[in-house]
């Protein structure tokens, strides 16, 4: 599976210089078009938007994330993605009052390399401002223990936002299959949530190259350990194609506050950098492609080999965009990167 580089030549990777030039050009284009009427971003037609929202002052002097700045960054990112003047208008493009909204976080690595509590709080707050009742918001991942290790407090019932692992409700009776994947899907997704907002972390992965938006849904199935063969290709794309997943995941908000560029998915403080950013997109494939390039760029700066040379290039991103999957686009010419 190959992707197209900037020059239209089929290549597997983009060099740092090319990437920066392309990001700059894309940003300029998007700025120039900011006054144009909004065209809803599409994952299957036209160009996919990926917003990279950055705030260098996201942390205080002790390195702690500022909840207010995280919330402001999130709302700016959503407004940029949907080209809306008010955050609630942007959120209404994703959710409607009355829906049960699931937030799929990524907590396996524990505190430090998991979805930030501050980001989840900000998303919950924004959803409530958009009319979603707190008891209609469900923050979930594989295990209660994983959520707790990332700093979340389990709340299985009650009037507030719920925090539950898949071990609480278990998995579907139905076996869902696509391509090489055959899995049960967690009941939190199949029976509880109407809409899922994907909240992955930007990380290197020692087997699949990177783990970002697409792979985060491994946390929705009962057998993720079976799907790391061949650097996750085509398994990551196939799992995302399972009907309950594909139909319910609407938006990806990637926590790139402190990404891991080597040694992931575990917590590796020596190989993390303060990027202080969010990557937001309706297109998980485009988001993964851009996130992957950011990790490659950082690896190159640190003098590390590209993932392809380490035989863990995330080819599943290209597979997710192919004619059998159509989960999004990974052609840089069809991705509009908006830096704010």
């Amino acid at each position: 599976m190959k992707g197209a580089g900037l020059d239209g030549v089929s290549v597997h990777h983009v060099t740092r210089r090319t990437f920066c030039r392309w990001v700059g050009a894309a940003s300029a284009i998007s700025l120039g078009c900011s006054g144009a009427p909004e065209t809803p971003p599409s994952s299957t037609t036209g160009r996919s938007k990926v917003v990279i929202a950055q705030d260098p002052k996201l942390r205080d002097t002790r390195g702690k994330l500022s909840p207010q700045r995280v919330a402001a960054l999130l709302n700016r990112a959503l407004q940029a993605l949907f080209d809306r003047d008010h955050p609630a208008e942007a959120w209404h493009q994703v959710v409607r009052p009355g829906q049960v909204v699931g937030l799929k976080v990524n907590c396996l690595a524990g505190k430090g390399a998991s979805t930030s509590v501050e980001l989840v709080e900000a998303v919950c707050e924004s959803l409530q401002q958009a009319g979603i009742r707190p008891d209609k918001i469900v923050v979930w991942d594989r295990l209660n223990a994983d959520l707790e290790s990332a700093g979340f407090r389990i709340r299985e019932r009650g009037p507030g936002v719920r925090f539950i692992g898949n071990d609480v409700l278990g998995y579907s009776d139905e076996l869902y299959a696509h391509g090489k994947a055959g899995s049960l899907v967690c009941r939190t997704l199949t029976e509880v949530c109407d809409v899922v907002i994907n909240l992955p972390v930007l990380k290197d992965h020692s087997i699949t190259g990177v783990t970002i938006a697409l792979k985060n849904l491994f946390g929705a199935i009962h057998n993720p350990n079976k799907y790391h063969l061949n650097a996750g290709d085509p398994y990551v794309a196939d799992v995302f194609m399972l009907p309950p997943i594909r139909s319910k995941v609407r938006l990806s908000i990637c926590d790139a506050f402190t990404p891991v560029y080597q040694g992931g998915p575990s917590y590796m403080p020596q190989w993390m950098w303060p990027f202080n950013s969010l990557l937001v997109s309706l297109d998980p494939v485009a988001l993964d492609y851009i996130g992957w390039q950011l990790i490659e760029q950082k690896r190159a700066e640190a003098g590390m080999k590209p993932l392809r040379e380490l035989k863990r290039e995330p080819r599943y991103i290209f597979t997710a965009a192919d004619a059998q999957h159509r989960l999004g686009v990974c052609d840089p010419q069809r991705i509009q990167v908006i830096r704010i």
Binding site: L108, A109, G110, L143, N166, D167, V168, L169, G170, Y171, D173, L175, A177, G182, L184, S206, I207, H222, N223, N225, K226, H228, L229, G263, G264, P265, S266, Y267, M268
Partner: protein, 401 residues
């Protein structure tokens, strides 16, 4: 094939939520306890017993089932490398291997299924199937969750393809299992249903604990295991039945998610260790039923393992991810047997076809039946001290004295 549930009489199957589970089952096995009286009552009521509720979100006390794994290497940055099976998973901290039942916790690798029985039945040994190992006896058959391959036709996928915490389980330590096998009159303990390689430590310790009680130990496996742990295992078990899934690397890659070569290597190790060996080949229509493949298989068995190793061609039924194929035509199984017979194998069987004459054992010299079977039932044994009653031809196997 040693299926966990399908072979049970539907009339005696009890829905999980109505099954006469023991008190600790109702508690989700938070407390490792098991009342003998309750167990026997339960076993008597159903003829077997099973405590499996697949995919039930069990909340168990994980620590009681956790032991450090025996075959792994520590790597830098808290990574570990499992050397139990040919997959050799390199596992990051807080992650699990392909089997789903072994976890890296801060650079130490643990099995999460030690004494964590998710299934336990008293089965006829013929169900495994072993046809040359104590025919007519019962095998106390146990399994944990997990498997180190992912066969598209797996008939026990509801326990083999799940994680330990996704299936209800009981605490069954080695000494307790050995006692239960003895109390229920079983001649052997069978490690089966899922993949015993993934619960290696528990199996190994159970085998050692049960031997002094006169209980034999038999393993039903895909044979996907590395040489060192296999040789150690062969020292404490009495018989191994290998599911040889196909005879091409392509089949192993596309249908099994494994490799053929390590399985063939393992078969050679088993033979060299002197453990009793039988082979099952599940014939899947259009995927592994080519005449050339079957002939190659028979030739390899004869040349590498000898003509006396029993070879069972068993019937496929649509399961799991292969529901689009029909059951194996009986004519295909008969053709497979003809090929293996013609290549000179002495004991070739047809399985999963109750009442077929291919279930019987025939003396290779006088051609008369020496063990007659219908399904899992023994209809007659015509052996005298391991020899054909009719012509005194020795019949290889492990026979009752």
């Amino acid at each position: 094939m040693d299926r966990q549930l399908a072979s049970s009489n539907p009339a005696t199957q009890v829905p999980v939520d109505q099954a006469p589970l023991t008190e600790c089952a109702y508690r989700g096995f938070d407390t490792p306890c098991w009342e003998r009286r309750e167990f026997l009552k339960c076993a008597a009521a159903t003829g077997t017993y099973w405590l499996v509720n697949p995919l039930w979100a069990a909340r168990t006390n994980d620590a009681v089932f956790t032991r450090e794994a025996r075959h792994y290497e520590k790597l830098p940055h808290k990574q570990v490398k499992c050397v139990l099976c040919p997959r050799e998973c390199v596992v990051d901290d807080r992650e699990r291997g392909y089997c789903g039942v072994r976890e890296n916790r801060s650079g130490t690798y643990y099995t999460l299924v030690y004494s964590r029985a998710c299934s336990a039945h008293v089965d006829p040994i013929e169900k495994k199937p072993f046809f040359h190992f104590l025919p007519g006896t019962a095998a106390f058959s146990v399994a944990t969750a997990g498997c180190n391959v992912n066969c598209k036709m797996c008939q026990n996928w509801e326990i083999s393809q799940v994680r330990p915490e996704q299936v209800q389980a009981m605490y069954l330590p080695p000494d307790k299992l050995a006692q239960l096998a003895k109390q229920t009159g079983c001649a052997s303990i069978a490690y089966t249903y899922s993949e015993p390689v993934v619960f290696y430590e528990w199996m190994y310790d159970c085998a050692r604990a049960s031997r002094p009680l006169g209980i034999k130990n038999v393993v039903v496996t895909g044979g996907y295991i590395k040489e060192k742990p296999l040789r150690e295992l062969c020292k404490v078990v009495d018989a191994i039945k290998v599911d040889l899934k196909g005879f091409s690397e392509r089949y192993y890659q596309e249908v099994v998610n494994g490799q053929l070569k390590p399985v063939l290597d393992a078969l050679l190790v088993m033979k060299s260790e002197g453990v009793w060996l039988e082979i099952v080949y599940l014939v899947v229509p259009t995927l592994n039923d080519k005449e050339g493949e079957l002939r190659q298989l028979a030739r390899w068995v004869k040349s590498q393992l000898g003509p006396d190793v029993p070879l069972h061609f068993t019937r496929f039924y649509p399961q799991y991810l292969l529901k689009n194929l029909p059951p194996t035509p009986i004519a295909t199984l008969e053709r497979a047997k003809q090929i293996a017979d013609a290549e000179g194998l002495h004991y070739v069987y047809i399985g999963n076809v109750p009442g077929h004459p291919g279930e019987n054992t025939y003396c290779p010299r006088c051609k008369r039946p020496v063990v007659e079977r219908i399904g899992y039932q023994i209809r007659g044994v015509h052996l005298n001290r391991g020899k054909c009653k009719h012509c005194q031809q020795p019949i290889p196997g492990v026979w009752k004295s």
